[in-house]
Symmetry: C2
Subunit: 252 residues, 2 copies
């Protein structure tokens, strides 16, 4: 089983992003989707969406602490995103999945793009595996740069190469067994920028030498760090400010 | 059969966008995808992508005339996009599809988001049908605002409401029969901003009274005008300017 943990938050493009991500996952057998809303309460939108998604899922929620929440005008790199939500997903797995379950853990952001082949690659991870991620780190791709027979020979990054793992969240998955063996493995808000992934992987006692390089010797891009443009909706903003928004009965 | 015409052009996020759109279409039975590249020649990237997509497709190309091509710094609304490509797709249908074929024509941009239910709605269009599109026209949604028993009672738009059809490209589909009956129906670069859809629909001799309102009396949003954020890739740009780009053998 692939346990995929996805943080998500309310915004104009949320339902659209969840819609196409769910269509990807509908092609993947044996996947359990753990969707964690960054919200005080589970929203009707996500609740209904998941109910009719046709997927096997768990719906959770946890609001990011105000200290760690981006303000509307903050640049998106100022604070890590999705940390509390990913940890709630991890806790759910620890409590609800029998440790003998064979499977992997994968962290999936809600606006990335995932090739179906990636999920097949993921099913044969002995402890932890990595692969390059497209459109990240300011580069065409970042992560393992060359691999041979599962060994990562070099890492490819242009930013903070001294990080234990210069890789995006979408560039690794770990075997559940390894995860269960490390009871304290989790994400942290208190790490320097760019160290979210490295912190998690080192909390699993992994070093660069321990991870397997996957996907045609790390030569193929099967996941892209796409970002959905923020919908500005100027006319809608005007209507809202006049207390007269578009039909509230229509869910977008 | 649904004939879906999609213009597409080379950019960092192209393969990602095509990947998730293809995953959507893989769920849709009886669909023929006409992909038209805005390019002098068919690119290896799109050629290979389509070949392994698992979809029934036709691959075409046609470069937008330089006079009508946006420059890198132009705002995206300055010129219409995808006009020449859509017309090449329409010509292909006129030449290759027997006019007796029962089916519909739908124009699909490569970075929108489409719900699977929309394609089911589309299969029963008598002449032409419309539905609201999310995140467009500066509003939560735009297009038919209320419908009853297939009749559009009102239109909902905040911008140029005098347009014959205040609706996005993703908000309508037409029966092939109607299309074949109007040999000159096509898209035009020479129309005022926002009139691309209206020009095409009126070239099919349609008025607002002729189109059927679909999708739960136009009350459900099944398609969103999402836009994928341009990947800026600063480090990659630096490498390219130094004549030393990331591994060119790795396709992103
Ligand atoms: O306030 C927020 C912002 C983001 N996210 C989620 O955290 C993940 C990463 O966020 P985003 O995609 O905005 O980050 P980026 O692509 O810029 O790294 C996504 O699944 C978001 O839905 C969240 O839960 N709360
Ligand atoms: O130079 C271009 C720009 C866009 N497009 C295509 O035209 C459609 C509409 O373009 P875009 O999504 O950029 O427009 P917007 O979402 O801003 O209306 C998409 O399928 C693009 O791939 C194209 O063929 N050539
Ligand atoms: Mn993201
Ligand atoms: Mn678009």
């Amino acid at each position: 089983v692939i346990y995929a943990v996805t943080p998500t938050y309310t915004r104009w493009t949320q339902k659209a992003d969840l819609t196409r991500l769910a269509q990807t996952l509908l092609h993947v057998p044996n996947l359990h989707w753990i969707v964690v809303e960054d919200a005080e309460r589970k929203t009707p939108l996500v609740t209904k969406f998941l109910k009719y998604s046709g997927l096997q899922y768990t719906h959770l929620n946890s609001k990011t602490d105000a200290n760690y929440k981006l303000k509307a005008d903050d640049p998106n790199w100022l604070l890590p995103r999705g940390v509390a939500q990913r940890n709630v997903g991890l806790s759910w797995i620890r409590k609800n999945v029998p440790p003998s379950t064979s499977g992997v853990l994968y962290l999936m952001d809600d606006d990335n793009t995932y090739s179906l082949k990636l999920f097949e690659e993921m099913r044969t991870i002995a402890t932890a595996a990595v692969w390059p991620v497209g459109l990240t780190g300011g580069l065409k791709f970042e992560g393992p740069g060359s691999c041979s027979g599962g060994k990562v020979l070099s890492w490819y990054t242009a930013w903070k190469p001294e990080r234990p793992f210069p890789i995006d969240m979408a560039g690794f998955a770990v075997n559940l067994k390894l995860f269960f063996q490390h009871k304290n493995a989790e994400f942290s808000n208190k790490v320097p920028r760019g160290y979210l992934e490295s912190h998690f992987l080192t909390s699993l006692d992994l070093t660069r030498d321990d991870v397997e390089g996957k996907v045609e010797d790390c030569s193929e891009i099967l996941v892209w760090h796409t970002r959905t443009e923020k919908a500005t909706l100027k006319q809608e903003a005007k209507l809202i400010s006049m207390g007269n928004p578009s039909n509230p009965d229509i869910e977008v």
